[in-house]
């Protein structure tokens, strides 16, 4: 009983290990460099009228 069970456990442990490595590679290659920081102003810039946003910027600068 022990032999096959421990063989499978070993295989599954390897699979989980390899999977974590693959996920790390995907993270490093495709995720970490492309993370986008978003705050209230960037959302406003995206969803509101850009002309209004630039007016706002100009106003802020003038103050």
């Amino acid at each position: 009983m022990k032999k096959t069970s421990s063989k499978l456990s070993r295989e599954l442990a390897w699979i989980i290990g390899i999977k974590l490595v693959l996920l790390l590679i995907i993270w490093k290659a495709f995720i970490a460099p492309y993370r986008v920081a978003v705050d209230a102003d960037s959302v406003a810039g995206k969803v509101l009228n850009p002309a209004q946003s630039s007016q706002q910027l100009e106003k802020n600068n003038a103050r």
Binding site: L12, I16, L22, L23, I26, A40, A44, L48, N49
Partner: protein, 516 residues
């Protein structure tokens, strides 16, 4: 080839979610089968039930090992492709996802570890308790994910803040007891139970067809038939409940599912089959049953179900109201003390999302033309044909499984099922049905939510980040490769151990002990 960031990001999320959900339902369902098998062992002391728990537990373990962490790629995408979405709804969405993470780690994973390594260390009753806690943990993880998803369909207990430009939670209890989330949870876990039962039923049928491990397979078949019959009945009843909650919170989704272009006098008829024509916005032909839709959709004979054209007209008004909200928001962002603008924003806030739909057509929503408003109103309708057919296929397969489990249960009560090769072959052929129904269910739920990520609040177009198409293709290829490898390995291991059967336990009590 897709060259637009919105569609590519959607495709990427859909692909990862659908792949992920190939692993999930089996885990959710198998775990309760293990509870039943082990409980019978503890109660009767019959060795075969412990062997069943261990053998099916081994297949469960393979699925768990391959499936665990496959959901994390979706969370990766929140920070890259869906950064605006994440900001907009992070305050609400973050809580259930974090609780799920903790639950999955502490309860589910710990108990799964104890289940596999505790056989010789715990007493029978202690081990059974571990198995029960493992089942509860697995199902609770699903609960939190579905609370998050339910909120995307019916965003209750939250309000938009113009200062932070995001939705903020106002009522955690409303989020927890959201009727959409509750209906989704029970329907989805029942779908998992059907999957677990079908898996055991099919493989046991295969053993019986080959005359191998007959006593073991007979007992497994019996449990799967009874559990599967109860589960398939509940998935159907709870699917009806899901349809009802959809009709309450997302009328347009229900109208699309039913290809109901026009409002009919109550109680509406049900389109059993139809050929929806998106260009004419009519059905080319339909086969309808009077009254049925009204009865199941509203549970009354007098309440009307609005058709697509009527909902579109209502949405047009909401878009016009939303234009005022967007303009007021712009004014308030310029000057937070503009009380007139604040008043307008307050009055039209519930339609802000509808105003934002116009961003597809113009940078300045205030200048949208009537044609643009018409086009945006048309956008509020999900594509009808895929919704109509996905739903009917899911329901059709549900009905087919009801017949199969009904027949299997009846035959197992009579005790002669191993001499019914037609039933056994049918059970073997039906193995893919629960997975197919689950995938189609998600198509109905998520495709039917378009054009929103958060229904009525945040359009999908405004939820995505401005990434390059090349980087999206790169990550898509990475994800597809990753999942495909996992699936192939899962299939190979499953086939290997299913072929070996309980002989793989090495107890000396079963056939095929020397096959490996």
């Amino acid at each position: 080839m897709l060259d637009n960031v919105v569609d590519l990001s959607r495709l990427q999320f859909a692909v990862t979610a659908l792949y992920h959900f190939l692993f999930v339902p089996l885990t959710i369902g198998m775990v309760w089968m293990l509870v039943i098998m082990e409980a019978v062992w503890v109660m009767t002391g019959k060795q075969v039930y412990q062997d069943m728990t261990r053998f099916w537990g081994k297949l469960f373990g393979i699925n768990f090992a391959l499936g665990v962490t496959t959901g994390i790629t979706m969370e990766f995408q929140f920070g890259t492709n869906w950064a605006y979405y994440s900001h907009y709804v992070g305050d609400i969405f973050g809580a259930p996802l974090a609780i799920e993470g903790l639950m999955a780690f502490f309860l589910e994973s710990t108990m799964i570890g104890l289940f596999f390594f505790g056989w010789n260390r715990l007493s029978r009753k202690q081990h059974l308790l571990v198995t029960i806690l493992m089942a509860i943990g697995t199902n609770l993880s699903a609960l939190w994910i579905l609370i998050a998803n339910g909120w995307m369909q019916n965003p209750v207990g939250a309000e938009f803040s113009y200062q932070t430009m995001r939705m903020e939670m106002t009522d955690f209890a409303a989020l927890l007891f959201n009727p959409d989330a509750q209906a989704k949870f029970v329907h989805t876990v029942s779908a998992g139970y059907v999957t677990g039962a079908m898996f055991v039923l099919s493989i046991s049928s295969w053993y019986l067809l080959r005359g191998r491990n007959v006593e073991f397979a007979r007992k497994s078949f019996r449990i799967a038939a009874a559990f599967g019959f109860a589960s398939v009945c509940s998935v159907i009843v709870l699917g009806d409940e899901s349809g009802y909650t959809v009709g309450e919170a997302q009328q347009i989704k229900l109208a699309a599912i039913e290809a109901m272009w026009h409002t009919e006098p109550a109680p509406a008829s049900f389109n059993l089959l139809a050929w929806p024509n998106e260009t004419r916005m009519e059905n080319d032909w339909q086969v309808s049953i009077p009254w049925v839709m009204g009865l199941i959709g509203t549970r009354s004979v007098s309440k009307q179900i609005p058709g697509i054209h009527e909902i579109m007209a209502q949405n047009r008004l909401r878009i016009q109201s939303g234009m005022l909200a967007v303009q007021a928001l712009e004014a308030v962002r310029r000057n937070g003390k503009d009380s007139a603008a604040l008043k307008v924003l307050e009055a039209h806030k519930q339609d802000l999302g509808f105003g934002l739909l116009l961003k597809k057509y113009t940078a300045d929503v205030a200048t949208a033309t009537p044609q643009m408003i018409d086009a945006a109103a048309r956008d509020t309708i999900p594509r009808v044909a895929p919704m109509f057919w996905s739903f009917r296929l899911m329901v059709g397969m549900g009905m087919a499984m009801l017949l199969l489990f009904g027949w299997s249960f009846w035959a197992s009560l009579k005790g002669d099922f191993q001499h019914r090769p037609r039933l056994l072959k049918l059970a073997l052929c039906c193995l893919p049905l629960p997975w197919l129904s689950c995938e189609l269910g998600w198509v109905v739920a998520e495709y039917g939510r378009q054009p929103w990520t958060i229904y009525g609040v945040l359009p999908t177009r405004l939820s995505v980040s401005t990434l390059s198409v090349e980087s999206l293709y790169g990550s898509l290829a990475g994800f597809v490769g990753f999942y495909t490898v996992l699936l192939v390995v899962e299939m190979m291991l499953m086939v290997r151990f299913a072929r070996q059967g309980p002989g793989s336990l090495g107890t000396g009590r079963y056939d095929n002990e020397t096959a490996h």
